[in-house]
């Protein structure tokens, strides 16, 4: 790993902010160039430091709603080279879909407890820096489940295995990654992926980021309007 990833950290909770900073800097792979306690501070810091990645809380002052997501959209629009990972306490997929509503490139959505899973966090940082996207597996799971619960959803036609593959795929993994995560052969994964796209009626795409986008778009479109 050649370059140190330059990060701006935003969280209104001091302990979380400082804990995360200590943890990341302790790896020696990450340089936390600035921290922010709210969205305005975050944007200012991004403008000033042009980091590789921003890690931001979703719920921050002043309204404690989705400031982090709005900031992510702003950052992606104003500074397309800066990736954004939203760290959230919300497992339900609505927030993730909100984050990805304008595209998935350079965006990641992780649950906050992933801080303890340092390798995954670093992996996510790297992917987002590279312009790819990452979604927390639990969030995808929740997303698929909630969509599958809807009657007539094509997701109901998927086998359990195919759903696992879909979820892992949505996290941003390529076929090899999926195979490793699910302990399958790559050829089996390829078959499953083809079957999934066929059943869902979605154009198959080998490019990972676009594949995630396609899956998410599908999930979003399928989301019950009610």
């Amino acid at each position: 790993m050649a370059d140190v990833i330059r990060v701006v950290l935003a969280d209104d909770h001091y302990l979380v902010r400082e804990g995360t900073r200590s943890l990341l800097e302790d790896t020696g792979l990450v340089d936390v160039v600035a921290t922010a306690a709210n969205a305005d501070e975050l944007l200012a810091a991004v403008a000033e430091h042009r980091p590789h990645v921003v890690i931001t809380d979703i719920r921050m002052p002043p309204t404690h709603s989705v400031e982090g997501i709005r900031a992510a959209h702003d950052i992606r629009r104003l500074f397309p080279t800066v990736g954004v990972i939203a760290l959230s306490q919300f497992v339900d997929g609505g927030y993730a879909l909100e984050l990805f509503k304008n595209g998935t490139d350079g965006l990641g959505y992780l649950l906050k407890e992933r801080i303890g899973d340092l390798d995954q966090l670093l992996e996510a940082l790297r992917k987002v820096t590279a312009g790819e996207s990452v979604i927390d597996a639990r969030v995808v799971d929740a997303l698929v489940k909630s969509r599958a619960d809807a009657a007539k959803s094509p997701l109901r036609q998927l086998t359990t295995r195919e759903r696992d593959v879909l979820g892992t795929m949505a996290e941003g993994k390529n076929n090899a990654g999926v195979a490793a995560a699910l302990h399958l052969s790559e050829s089996a994964v390829e078959k499953h992926v083809s079957s999934i796209f066929l059943k869902l009626g979605v154009q198959e795409d080998s490019q990972i980021s676009r594949r995630v986008a396609a899956v998410l778009t599908y999930l979003q479109d399928e989301s019950p309007s009610s």
Partner: protein, 701 residues
């Protein structure tokens, strides 16, 4: 025997003598020739003496102790005695001293009769003298009967006879020549006694009439008119008597007509006044029987007489059969007139009043139509006033609670005028007096027993109706109240639900922003420690020590949070202990003032919790707004109601609307049947005052 009983016996003797004299006079009028002929004797006996005596007798029988009745009885009796005395004096030649005794006796009785009639005028129809002048006038006129005869005796050379006397020796043995100048004066006094004394009586009556109330005036309006006519007629008769000879009409000298006619008028008017106005307590049955019977008899007599006279007149010229036929035809022909007269007499006797059942029917209609008390009252008083021909009627009702009656409706009189009613009937419903019906005097006559019974019946119905109307109104109010309460309840429930949602949001935020974040930070720290463990165990140990502190802090945060949801000490140790704990945790000085009986008291959970949060809210407000570092919490129990107060001496809350916390608590308390108020304290500061029934949701019995 006391003076009173002696006078009583003397009076009865006088009345008895009057009766005997009347009968003898009537017998004499048929048998003993009168100097002017039997026509005058009959006319005088039937026209002047009999009516006055009979009216007086009736009055004395009905009310022996009544002042007016006594004078009336005396006047009639004296007139009868005087009449007989005069007849006796005509019977033959009388010599001295009998001529002197007879003359003086006749003069005394004559003047007494005149004075008695004047006395009737002065007092009628009262039972006593209302004004001092009445007594003075009475004393003055009664000087005449003893004084004038003595004056005549001593001042004239011969006995002074009434002009009707003839064969009597008029030698006067007690003449005092020195007093002869007084003679003509005494003569004038004697000759004009009627005019003078009765005029005095009429003037006294007029004075009284002016002072009397309208209804009292009516009672002697006709007697006054008759007395005035009597004086005028007699004055005219006296004047006619100056001519010689006096013209004689139908066997009666013209100058007698005035006196006879005047006395008939007076007796009749008094009889009418007494019966019509129920004076002297002469009851309705007398009025009915005597008056109507008398009137009917007169009408029947006149009717038959008229028919008979017509028949006789015809019968003298044609055959008897034709005469009988004419009589029969006359009887038939006059029948409608008789019926008409009978109807007129009945109306005259009973007045134009609406009959009882008709009044009740109208009252019934009135009560049916009424929807509120004032309308009911207005209709009712009008119906009663019209139905019984009352001058005024007023209805008062007691307002709720104060027990006093307030006029709600009146007719013929101002509601608040202090008129004295003739009859007051309470409106009683179910044993409770809800008001009064006050009746003024009748437009004619006095209120009879039947009228009173009628008013009482009406009052009973009215009381029932008043209660119905009031119950209806009360029901309306209760319904409105219920509706209002239902709306308030719905609003309160909605606020409670919102408050609960709000509260859950607050708790979620607290957990999310607090403990969750701290746990996340701990996760980061644990991971850090893991990293450090391999490189630098000492550093990892330091990190872990910090982590332990963090975990303790998290525990405290969680405790705070759970106390906000429901303080455990409240459940385990009770309200008082929980309040003391709470007070001790605050950075200000809180005095907890608990009534001794509450030290170990426990209440239902909902009550304790509500009380606890009232104090929490109060103390929070003190912390936030009061700007003082002292507060007092007071707890007391009175009649099963828990009183909770949080007071401070700070800046107060004037004008500020209650915050959401207070409104939420108000809802919470009202759902328990309690109440919460935030007030400025006199002398500065704020007081939060809550009352809670402790029986709510009682699980502890």
């Amino acid at each position: 025997m006391t003076t009173r009983t002696v006078a009583g016996y003397a009076y009865r003797a006088l009345v008895a003598a009057g009766g005997i004299c009347l009968i003898v006079t009537i017998v004499f009028s048929f048998t003993v020739p009168h100097m002017y002929g039997s026509a005058l004797a009959q006319a005088w006996a039937w026209g002047a003496v009999a009516p006055l005596y009979l009216v007086g007798l009736l009055a004395v029988i009905v009310r022996p102790d009544h002042l007016s009745a006594r004078w009336l009885g005396a006047a009639g009796s004296l007139l009868a005695v005087e009449t007989l005395l005069r007849r006796v004096m005509q019977l033959g030649e009388v010599d001295v001293p009998w001529s002197v005794a007879g003359t003086v006796a006749v003069q005394v009785v004559n003047l007494s009769t005149t004075a008695a009639i004047a006395s009737v005028l002065i007092v009628f129809p009262d039972d006593h003298c209302r004004y001092p002048y009445q007594r003075r006038v009475l004393r003055t006129i009664w000087i005449a009967p003893p004084l004038v005869p003595v004056l005549l005796l001593v001042s004239r050379p011969s006995l002074y006879f009434a002009p009707t006397w003839t064969d009597v020796d008029d030698t006067n043995p007690v003449f005092v020549p020195g007093l002869s100048p007084l003679g003509s004066l005494a003569e004038i006094a004697f000759d004009w006694q009627y005019v003078v004394l009765w005029a005095v009586g009429v003037v006294a009556m007029v004075v009284r009439y002016h002072r009397a109330a309208p209804n009292a005036r009516r009672q002697f309006r006709w007697p006054l008119a008759a007395a005035s006519a009597l004086v005028a007629l007699d004055a005219v008769s006296r004047s006619l008597n100056q001519f010689d000879p006096s013209p004689v009409i139908l066997g009666v000298p013209l100058h007698f007509y005035g006196l006879i006619l005047g006395l008939i008028l007076l007796a009749t008017s008094i009889l009418v006044a007494v019966t019509r106005h129920r004076l002297m307590g002469i009851d309705l049955w007398i009025r009915r029987t005597i008056l109507l019977g008398g009137a009917s008899a007169i009408i029947a007599f006149a009717y038959l007489g008229l028919a008979g006279v017509l028949g006789l007149a015809v019968g003298q010229r044609v055959s008897l059969g034709l005469g009988v036929l004419v009589t029969l035809v006359a009887v038939v022909a006059f029948h409608p007139a008789r019926t008409r007269l009978d109807t007129w007499a009945r109306r005259w006797v009973f007045g134009r009043s609406v009959a009882g059942p008709e009044v009740l029917r109208r009252v019934g209609d009135t009560l049916e139509d009424a929807h509120d008390v004032s309308q009911l009252g207005a209709n009712l008083v009008r119906t009663v006033a019209d139905g019984l021909e009352l001058e005024w009627v007023r209805m008062s009702l007691s307002a709720d609670g104060d027990g006093l009656s307030h006029p709600v409706a009146a007719v013929g009189v101002a509601k608040d005028e202090s008129a004295v009613p003739d009859l007051v009937v309470p409106l009683i419903d179910a044993g409770e007096t809800v008001g009064f019906l006050e009746c003024g005097p009748k437009r004619d006559g006095e209120l009879s027993k039947a009228d009173e019974t009628l008013v009482t019946t009406v009052a009973r119905q009215a009381a029932l109706a008043v209660r119905n109307v009031r119950l209806t109104a009360e029901l309306e109010i209760r319904l409105d109240e219920l509706r209002r309460q239902a709306e308030e309840l719905a609003a309160s429930r909605s606020r409670l639900v919102h408050a609960q949602t709000e509260e859950r949001h607050r708790i979620e935020r607290n957990i999310h922003d607090g403990v969750q974040q701290e746990i996340i930070a701990s996760i980061a720290k644990i991971r850090l420690a893991r990293n450090q463990l391999a490189r630098d165990p000492q550093l990892a140990a330091t990190t872990l020590t910090g982590l332990q502190d963090d975990t303790l802090r998290m525990l405290n945060s969680l405790r705070e949070l759970s106390r906000g949801i429901h303080p455990p000490v409240l459940t385990h140790r009770g309200l008082v202990e929980a309040l003391r704990t709470q007070a001790s945790l605050l950075p200000i000085d809180v005095h907890v003032d608990v009534a001794p009986k509450l030290r170990n008291a426990r209440f239902p959970d909902v009550v304790e919790e509500a009380a606890y949060f009232v104090v929490s809210e109060g103390l929070t407000n003190v912390l936030k707004h009061a700007g003082t570092d002292e507060a007092t919490v007071r707890l007391d129990l009175d009649d099963g109601r828990l009183t909770v107060e949080v007071a401070d001496r700070g800046g107060g809350c004037s004008g500020a609307p209650p915050g959401t916390g207070i409104v939420g608590l108000q809802d919470r308390l009202s759902s328990l049947g309690g109440d919460l108020q935030l007030d400025d304290q006199p002398g500065g500061g704020t007081i939060l005052h809550a009352v809670l029934p402790t029986g709510v949701g009682d699980r502890h019995g």
